[in-house]
Amino acid sequence: MYEAKVVAFFCTWCTYTAADLAGTARMSYAPNVRIVRIMCSGRVDPQFILDAFHRGADGVLIGGCHPGDCHYQDGNYKTLRRFHLLQRLLEQMGIEKKRLRLEWISASEGDKVQRVINEMVEDLRQLGPLKISASPVAEEVEGETEAVAAPAL
């Protein structure tokens, strides 16, 4: 069965800490996510997102601090603007909007990490795998999904 691959960029101050909290609280969530820890959601260059899709991700999740809470004042607002423009671009490129998601998750919201990841993985399951012709892993995706499911247990 197809298992979605999600690359998640979590800011170290809020969302990554929340993911940590979800872990220490032993909350379980879908194992389809690879979390990349970054200093600020504003550090997510749109190139990272396109590169993730290019290399076989079915979805990309960005987690940052709530508006007004950014450790660097306004990094998350930059992310918000990039996100909206990127959504328009992805739509034109035939990539469904649900494949890119932006969420504000504060350090105390471990349960939100759990909910958002579960929702996103479910959405991606409904959408099916993303097929990008330029992807270097396009042919391997089928075989690789098997391997992905295994270590998650």
Partner: protein, 331 residues
């Protein structure tokens, strides 16, 4: 010593790059003096067979312009690769995919459908699709394959150097030819233009405010453009910050924004993503509604950010035929 042998060829392009060679004006006489042009279909009567008959690696330098759209172009590119010591991708189309690369927002099926079925001027019952092979009155007819995806030169073969631009300026071409003739060659794969952003050589850079912020986006036909002030500061989207320099800011000097034909600098992987990032950074709104409203005015993100570079971008083309939802996957 015999003169170096040079070939020019065009693939999917408008002919502007050929024009750029002629634009060398009287300098072309020096070039013709120094080299021996052995193949140039647009100007001189050589045929494919003439090239095919040459021994391998007979041509010293082949300048190839245009993107790769048809099987015929692919065939010629492979032939020229076999016959040439050095390949130069000439112009935006060969370098990045260029304007023909925007065809990657469609595919063969949707293009054929439009051209041969939907165009209102078509006669009814005359909606014939071109076939690659057909027989008529005992003759076999062959048309080259029309590819689903437009490619750039490097998708097919190793390219030695890139001359960017739509078209490359005579100055760049002349400098490149002189560099080659002198034998002072940079590392293989180099783009023969300065590796800095266009803003670096733009006269309007001085007028850029220290903190560049915009509240509105305007299209060039909507406003009278101030010929001195940085275009971005005027709310006109300019690709300059995400584009390689070397053209001398021709478009900006003509009071038009840069559209990005020189491609990115070597530090950037995806020109469009970088340009998008830059634009999003200078928009002076932080509430979702205003952001949405402003970007709704940005009607064609792909055509703006990837006007010349869709085939080299990370996504390369529009994605078609996403999986229909399968029952077994739902659970």
């Amino acid at each position: 010593m015999s003169k170096p042998k040079v070939a020019f060829y065009w693939c999917a392009s408008c002919g502007g790059c050929e024009e750029a060679v002629v634009d060398l004006a009287e300098n072309i006489l020096d070039v013709v003096e120094a080299v021996d042009i052995v193949f140039w279909p647009v100007a001189l009567d050589f045929k494919k067979e003439d090239v095919a008959k040459m021994p391998d690696k007979e041509i010293d330098v082949a300048f190839i312009n245009g993107a790769i759209r048809l099987g015929e172009q692919e065939e010629m590119v492979y032939l020229l690769e076999r016959k040439s010591k050095m390949i130069i991708a000439f112009g935006s189309c060969a370098h990045l995919g260029g304007i023909p690369g925007l065809g990657n927002l469609w595919n063969r099926e949707s293009i054929f459908n439009r051209v041969y079925h939907e165009v209102p001027s078509l006669q009814e019952n005359n909606q014939v699709l071109p076939l690659e092979n057909a027989s008529m009155n005992g003759h076999d007819l062959h048309l080259p394959e029309f590819f689903d995806t437009v490619k750039h030169l490097h998708d097919l073969i190793e390219v030695d150097y890139y001359l960017p631009g739509c078209p490359p300026t005579p100055k760049l071409l002349l400098e490149a030819i002189q560099t080659i003739l002198k034998g002072e060659l940079p590392p293989k794969g180099t783009v023969l233009s300065p590796d800095k952003a266009l803003c670096d050589e733009c006269d309007r850079n001085q007028s850029k405010p220290e903190k560049l912020l915009i509240k509105d986006l305007k299209r060039v036909q909507e406003v009278e453009i101030d010929p001195e002030k940085c275009l971005l500061a005027q709310g006109i989207f300019c690709m300059g910050p995400a584009t390689r320099s070397g053209c001398g800011a021709l478009c900006v000097n003509g009071n038009m924004p840069c559209t990005g034909c020189f491609g990115p600098t070597s530090r950037v992987k995806d020109q469009g993503a970088k340009a998008l990032s830059g634009l999003a950074s200078i928009v002076d709104y932080s509430d979702e509604e205003s952001i949405q409203r402003l970007f709704d005015k940005f009607v064609d993100p792909v055509g703006t950010f990837y006007r010349y570079g869709l085939p080299v971008s990370l996504l390369k083309r529009k994605t078609f035929n996403q999986n229909p939802i399968q029952e077994s996957d739902k659970g």
